[in-house]
Symmetry: C2
Subunit: 607 residues, 2 copies
């Protein structure tokens, strides 16, 4: 069966890999869809045949591509007409961009997982579009600032060149602006030996429920047809386990269970598939609950991330995974760094009471065998309690309903705080990155030169022919060598202290980058509730529906407060810990220098 | 009496000081020579009248300007003819430049003390001319390298702008390239209330013995008519006290007397003269022998330097005084720095057994009253045992005569060593200067920014509204302030340690810069002795004179060896001391940082 397909992105064949270079817009003929591993075989107009990434081509629009089919059937079209009306009334506080108010159109098919290099270049910044149109609370500046630009420039050198030794700049996330992960090559495959073509065909995936839903939620939460009104006016009974919120000492809090889940990510092993054509790294993940290790590749972490984002992203900021990477991704240092960051990401997820107790997260950590994994995976992908519908499972226990003003004030407060903290964290990262560069670049060079100058002078003195010279020249040589040792210490110190400070702040930068998402959903909901009176007046909704909307906005606010309290508690813990660690290492560093110099000093004659 | 005078250098009047601007080449009329303080009153062609520095004008050549009148009458003209002969014989090892072999011509009148700004710009580099023509042993590179170029560029900022606070570059000697000391305004005056016009007239000074002799010795030792042959073939009995050389443990040594002379330079006071028109700084100098302080201005130190250079310069390297300085010379920090350097210079002179026991040095330290000073000063200026004639007073006690080969080998050895050490010292100064810049510039700025970033984050955290935040924010603020304190410490540290390392090396750079002088005299003498055989063969000198020459070259070599041993002994002492001091301060510095960080660390909650 020869199917025609349209090329979506340029693809340059890697020599010796049986690949076929294709250009955006080119029409190719699919000659074999059963290659697997994310590849198809295709022929171009010149008759050349080779492998092409399946996600780089599009087999034409089909009815199956239209998304939203499984969205609960609520008629939300009145929002459109209302928005138009309110605009003519000059209500400037209506923040919804007009793009979200146009009539339902078939959603342009978006490749489920693979986004173009441009889109992935800024890490995970799903709010660039949203924030540009958002009502107050977020400056465009914050939202528009691409992730990683502050710490990224040097990182490219460090990783991009695959260099070992001391990276002169801190290899922060967002460092690999131009890179994309070729783990995409397996993204649609189930992994673990299941038939890799079963889910992977390009012509099938558009119809899959989860895929288009997820993208919709990711890219335009709050303004898509699955925006907060989906929950606010939902008539469906909530599905899934209840997520309780209690009144704690610091305010509304999630339900925390003991013992706290944790896991260890370790033992990265290289594997290969497609007869060695494609290789990958598999990590061992061992939860403290079972003490039984499970194996996961980066793409499985990525799958988990996508599920968590889809399911909890409206209520809980889900930080991105460590950046994807092509060049040198099997180099030892890169693997170590990725593992360290996957560990940090998993630990953070484990610490979250809602995430750690979720079925999908438990599946990831404790699946028994490949069948178990496969079944759980499919179930998770079919979960309908996703996006804003997660709020339908949240139950504030014994907490009074909040009025809209309170809801709004809390929302604004969190918005301001996260914005300020984002600025503060980025500032610290910028300073830290410069300090990293100095400590690994010019500073040790200078100490080295001081050391050489002393040793050089010592050599000259040795040549004097004068008696009784040895004590001085030995001491001077020793002092010179001491400064060379100090140079070495200075160059290696950032890895021992600044590294963790940077990692923690990078994690927080990523986490804070998700807040515009989460808070945006709340802001959109507040807008909707604010419009409720008018909607009742114009009989667009009933008085009962208005009450429901307000109550649900209150529930959303409790969720946000619980999440903020969770964030604060973690933040205090994390910064206490990292500052202690940093200062402890700094103390050791300076003490060791002093000790070395004390020894060097003792070798000079006392006179 | 209206005398016409030619203007030698441009002079720009300072407003409000009754001065007259004049241009080089302009003819002016002297209207009053009795102004004193180095000034004359003059009228220009436009009829304007004002003060002009007397050394900026020349009253025309007179027979009194021709120097060399008091040089012992030895006919040395045979050296000229010989040199020509040897050249035709293809003897390439004859190093004397032809310029020194031309018949005696009247020496162009040189202003005795004031040299043009160009000439003073490189500190004291009297060998630029000599070395260019010198036979092997000194690379032109070394000699041609202007003093101060390596450490100078930054120093201009530090002192030239008169800025306080932390100089970003080390203010080494030679830093003030374009500056000249307006202490010249009193250079020819006797000081201490003696009639300032008595010695100061421009028309008188050319005839003074000491002045032209000194310049001759300074500028062209070894190649002028007062070169080593003056001593090697001298028939005059030596004048002045004997300078003995003994055989010590390390080889030939000067006679050291106990207790070692030392003095304290302290208590700088501002004085003024000419009704406040000109002001100066007077330092108190107190020797440990009398414990009676005497007062001296910079120009007196300079006078002493000139005397010592004139008298001992052929045998003993006399380091230059700290640089002259106009801009901001009354600023506190400059005065402190100059005093410190005058102290170092005086201490070094005190430590030298020959210099410290010399009449002129004793006069400087222990004159009883102004009359005593004035009498001694005149006597010193009339001293005829100067230049190479100092060797006539040196007596190796019980030391066997050295043959020319030994003499030459020693000379070459010292030449190599001082050259190498000069390189080593300059290298250390370059490195030190860069380190100084970093420590007072970008490094503390970076620590400050780290401190600010921590404090900034602390402020953000404080705004969270979350309970139990205070412990973290207090600790974070304290950590931030600690890094600001560290920034301050880093910026101030070079003054506490690097400063002395730089000062000592600058001193040695100056001292080493004198060795080409001293060694050059010896090399020239060796050349003369080497020619002796031929001179005897051609009956230019007698066999007896040849023996005398060889014996005197041996005496010169002992003097050089004694001086080198003195140098080595001092060098070992100085570098031991300065390295100890440097490392001790460095240890304290790093210990204090560690202590501060330890305290900052303790404020974070232990978890």
């Amino acid at each position: 069966m020869a199917t025609k397909a349209q090329v979506l992105y340029d693809f340059t064949a890697e020599p010796g890999n049986n690949e076929l270079s294709v250009r955006e817009g080119e029409t190719i003929t699919i000659t074999n869809q059963s290659i697997g591993g994310g590849w198809i075989e295709a022929q171009n107009s010149r008759g050349e045949v080779g492998l092409v990434p399946e996600d780089y081509v599009e087999v034409g629009k089909s009815p199956a591509f239209a998304a939203g089919g499984s969205v609960p059937p609520i008629d939300l079209s009145f929002f459109d007409s209302h928005a138009t009306a309110s605009n003519t009334q000059g209500q400037v506080d209506v923040a919804q961009p007009e793009t979200s108010l146009t009539p339902v159109t078939p959603i342009t098919p978006v490749l489920p997982a693979l986004t173009s290099p441009d889109e992935t270049s800024n890490g995970n910044d799903p709010w660039a579009v949203f924030d540009t149109n958002a009502s107050g609370g977020f400056s465009n500046n914050w939202a528009a600032q691409p992730e990683g630009t502050e710490t990224g420039q040097g990182g490219n050198n460090a990783w991009g060149s695959g260099g070992h030794g001391h990276p002169h700049a801190y290899p922060g996330p967002g460092a690999e602006d131009d890179e994309w992960d070729d783990e995409w090559d397996e993204r649609k495959s189930g992994g673990f030996g299941e038939n890799e073509t079963s889910e992977g065909g390009a012509i099938n995936r558009g119809g899959a429920h989860g895929s288009s839903m997820k993208i919709t939620l990711n890219k335009f939460p709050g303004f898509s047809k699955s925006g907060p009104e989906l929950y606010l006016l939902s008539k469906l009974a909530s599905k899934g386990p209840k997520l309780s919120i209690y009144s704690g000492e610091v305010g509304p809090v999630w339900e925390y269970t003991e013992p706290q889940l944790d896991c260890v990510v370790a033992d990265p092993k290289k594997g290969s598939k497609m007869y060695g054509l494609k290789s990958y790294i598999e990590y061992q993940v061992m939860p403290n609950t079972t003490n039984k290790p499970v194996n996961h590749r980066y793409k499985h972490f990525d799958w988990l991330y996508e599920r968590l984002l889809e399911k909890f992203g409206s209520a809980i900021p889900i930080p991105s995974l460590p950046d994807k990477q092509v060049t040198g991704r099997f180099e030892e240092e890169f693997i170590k760094m990725r593992m360290e960051r996957l560990q940090a990401w998993m630990s953070r997820m484990c610490r979250h009471p809602i995430i750690s107790n979720s079925e999908v997260f438990q599946l990831f950590l404790t699946y028994k065998d490949e069948k178990d994994w496969k079944t759980g995976k499919r179930k998770a992908e079919k979960d309908e309690t996703v996006g804003v519908m997660i709020f339908s499972t949240i139950e504030p226990e014994g907490l009074p309903d909040l009025d809209l003003l309170e809801v709004e004030q809390k929302c604004e407060q969190f918005s301001r705080f996260t914005k300020s903290m984002d600025d503060g964290v980025k500032d610290l990262l910028t300073v830290g990155n410069e300090h990293w560069k100095r400590c690994t670049g010019p500073l040790p060079k200078e100490y080295q030169r001081i050391g050489k100058a002393f040793q050089n002078l010592s050599s000259v003195f040795t040549s004097s022919g004068y008696e009784g010279e040895a004590t001085l020249t030995d001491a001077l040589t020793a002092a010179g060598k001491t400064y060379e040792e100090i140079a070495q210490m200075v160059a290696e110190q950032p890895k021992k202290d600044l590294h963790f400070l940077m990692e923690t702040n990078n994690e927080y930068k990523g986490l804070l980058g998700c807040f515009p998402d989460t808070i945006g959903v709340h802001k959109a909901a507040i807008e909707k509730v604010r419009e409720a009176d008018k909607l009742v007046a114009t009989s667009k909704i009933t008085a009962g529906e208005k009450v429901t909307m307000a109550k649900r906005a209150s529930t959303m606010s409790y969720a946000l407060q619980a999440e903020m309290n969770h964030f604060h508690s973690n933040r205090i813990y994390d910064y206490n810990r990292v500052m202690q660690q940093y200062l402890e290492q700094q103390v050791k560093f300076y003490e060791m220098i002093a000790e070395k110099l004390r020894h060097a000093h003792s070798q000079f004659t006392t006179m």
